[in-house]
């Protein structure tokens, strides 16, 4: 136990003292997101497309609609309820405000007026702006506490922005790199006979492996958190799903690619031979796993390759969890494929790995 703790702490210390490792692990994926985010996102995020349906003819309702038109942040579309809701579902509206019949009556009688607001939960920032504005306007009518029914609407043909699509993919890619590049220190330590030197002490090999695995998992979770936070702060990329589910996928992905890293280290004798091997694994996965472009955009003959890449499945699941993108596969299939890769890599690594 003591040995495991010390090995883990040593791994972490060495990692944070190695600037290039820090760069590739933390700065590199963030650069990717910042650069792609800047390229893809237009500068017109300031105005929201807001649909307005007024089903009430009272002066109060007209006043409200007039007040909403004054809000410069809104581009207002008037239409009937079904048309506006459809537009919301198609991603053409950030939110739809519905003033139901009976609104004016409630206001004039000093009762509680009701307004329904439908919004796209992936654009939670628009709702955050919208709700206080509506509340403010309604308060101007002397309404003590207007009732606003807030209805998040899951979009059918969810219009995912490029950055929303990209961020979960970059996250998956970062986990892949962290995992397979675990091969590098292993090869170096074998080459420099560190593994052998440790073998001359009573410390168990299982302890050595466990410390490496725990170390990489901790870094993977830190990396994921950083990517999610930065993309949220800078580009408002949402995290819609369950945090525990996401953490689970991050850990499963890290374990799968870590085992792949162990497997690669079994076939590389020197640092110089490890590098090209890692590149041969890394680059096809980066570009053929639908990280940067949806898989549908790639030519059909490449599909079989893409379908074989474990990163395709990890990215797909993380994308579904974070931004509710349309699924390539069910989570069950994604998890199954990752577990399968994990098992294969593990068997090969155990069979061929040499300590010296």
């Amino acid at each position: 136990m003591k040995a495991l703790r010390k090995l883990l702490v040593s791994d972490i210390k060495q990692f944070f003292r190695e600037r290039s490792a820090l760069f590739w692990t933390f700065a590199f994926p963030i650069f990717f997101i910042l650069i792609f985010g800047a390229v893809f996102s237009g500068g017109d995020n300031v105005t929201f497309n807001v649909g307005l349906t007024v089903e009430d003819n009272s002066p109060a309702a007209q006043q409200l609609s007039g007040a909403l038109q004054q809000v410069s942040a809104f581009k207002l579309y008037m239409g009937n309820q079904s048309a506006e809701l459809q537009a919301l579902k198609d991603g053409d509206r950030g939110a739809v405000i519905i003033v139901p019949s009976g609104f004016g009556q409630a206001v004039s009688q000093g009762g509680k007026a009701t307004v329904d607001v439908y919004y796209d939960p992936t654009q939670s920032s628009s709702a955050q702006v919208l709700l206080p504005i509506i509340t403010q306007i309604l308060e101007r009518f002397g309404q003590p506490a207007p009732i606003i029914n807030v209805n998040p609407v899951t979009l059918q043909t969810h219009e995912i922005r490029a950055i929303d699509y990209l961020t979960p993919g970059i996250l998956a890619m970062a986990i892949m790199q962290l995992g397979i590049f675990a091969a590098m220190p292993l090869v170096v330590q074998r080459e420099n006979r560190v593994l052998k030197r440790l073998g001359a002490t009573p410390v168990r090999r299982s302890t050595m492996i466990l410390s490496t695995v725990l170390f990489r998992l901790i870094i993977a979770i830190g990396q994921a958190a950083l990517i999610i936070i930065v993309s949220k702060l800078v580009f408002h990329v949402p995290m819609l799903g369950n945090w525990f589910f996401l953490a689970g996928m991050v850990i499963l992905g890290a374990l799968t690619f870590l085992t792949m890293g162990f497997m690669i280290s079994a076939f590389a004798k020197t640092q110089e031979s490890a590098m090209p091997l890692l590149m041969m694994v890394q680059f096809p996965m980066m570009f053929l796993s639908g990280i940067f472009f949806p898989i549908e955009m790639m030519p059909g003959f490449m599909r079989p390759i893409m379908d074989a890449m474990p990163l395709t499945y990890l990215a797909d699941s993380i994308r579904q969890i974070m931004v509710q993108s349309s699924a390539l596969h069910t989570h069950l299939i994604n998890v199954g494929v990752l577990v399968g890769w994990f098992a294969v890599c593990l068997v090969v690594a155990v069979r061929f790995f040499k300590w010296e």
Binding site: A3, L7, R17, N192, R193, R197
Partner: protein, 305 residues
């Protein structure tokens, strides 16, 4: 004195190459035992088998009375090992590496004590990557001492060090012997074997060709002294062999060694010969025979690094 290491009929082959060929020896409690031989002679392989790092093809090894095949982990707890390595953890500080290695053993000496023992007080907080070669080697020996081992294994402990650093390491090793530890080391430095080891096994091509105290090895094989010089032209050794008092002649790259039982007689004969044939002798000097000469006599080659 009881034996703490007993090796019998050890064999280890890599393909066609017999790295270790029927080696047997014992190391007694409290002695400094050295294995001397050129690179590739099988020293390191033998040592690593004894440490439990490699399996032997056949033969038996017992360390501290325990069979290495059955009690390897237990033995590793009671021995200290220094391998020929570069920096183990470039980005850990000296005291951190010592602390880490200490955690691998049931009982460990504190990093501070080890640092004092190997004289790294000024480098405690240095990253290992910033240590000099000599300091690295001290740390490496320090790491072998963290569990206060009964036997210390040192593989080429002064390889690549300057003379100053080498002498420091020798003092460190002698200190360990004074503390009652047994030391088993390999070396390809004659001087190291002669000055440090109480007993030496000379090893070549995977076989031990002689084992004894260094002075006895020399006196057993030589009661003559060596006259060395450089010649300005090639010369058949049969001419030199006929010099008065000469017992043996070895020529190598223009360098000549004439072994003589009576140095003054041989030298004056040599001078006469040089004058007659107008030959130029340079770098002439006389020395007593060393382990180098023993090795040369037994194998026909020199140990060179």
């Amino acid at each position: 004195m009881s034996a703490v290491i007993e090796v019998e009929k050890l064999h280890k082959s890599y393909g066609e190459i017999k790295a270790v060929n029927n080696i047997s020896f014992t190391v007694a409690q409290g002695e400094i035992f050295g294995m001397l031989g050129p690179n590739g002679a099988g020293k390191t392989t033998t040592m690593e088998i004894v440490e439990g790092l490699r399996p032997a093809d056949s033969g038996s090894v017992s360390v501290l009375g325990m069979d290495i095949k059955q009690r390897s982990r237990r033995i590793k707890g009671s021995i200290g090992v220094q391998l020929q390595t570069t920096t183990l953890y470039p980005r850990l500080k000296v005291h951190e590496v010592l602390d880490l290695f200490g955690s691998f053993f049931l009982k460990a000496v504190s990093p501070e004590e080890i640092i004092k023992l190997v004289g790294l007080e000024d480098s405690t907080n240095k990253l290992c990557i910033n240590l000099s070669g000599g300091q690295q080697q001290r740390l490496s020996i320090g790491l072998a001492l963290v569990n206060d081992p009964q036997i210390l294994f040192l593989d080429e402990p002064t390889s690549g060090l300057d003379p100053q650093a080498r002498h420091n390491i020798w003092d460190l090793i002698k200190l360990q012997k004074e503390k009652g530890k047994t030391v088993f080391l390999t070396t390809h430095y004659m001087e190291e074997a002669e000055r440090l080891c109480e007993r030496v096994a000379i090893i070549d091509h995977g076989e031990i060709i002689a084992t004894d105290r260094p002075d006895r090895l020399v006196s057993q094989h030589f009661n003559e002294e060596a006259i060395e010089f450089q010649l300005d032209r090639p010369l058949g050794d049969e001419v030199l062999r006929q010099l008065a008092g000469a017992t043996n002649v070895v020529m190598e790259n223009g360098g000549v060694t004439v072994y003589s039982k009576s140095v003054p007689v041989t030298i004056s004969a040599l001078m006469d010969m040089a004058k007659q044939s107008d030959m130029k002798l340079t770098d002439l000097y006389v020395r007593r025979a060393t382990l180098e000469d023993v090795f040369l006599k037994l194998t026909g080659r020199r140990i060179r690094d």
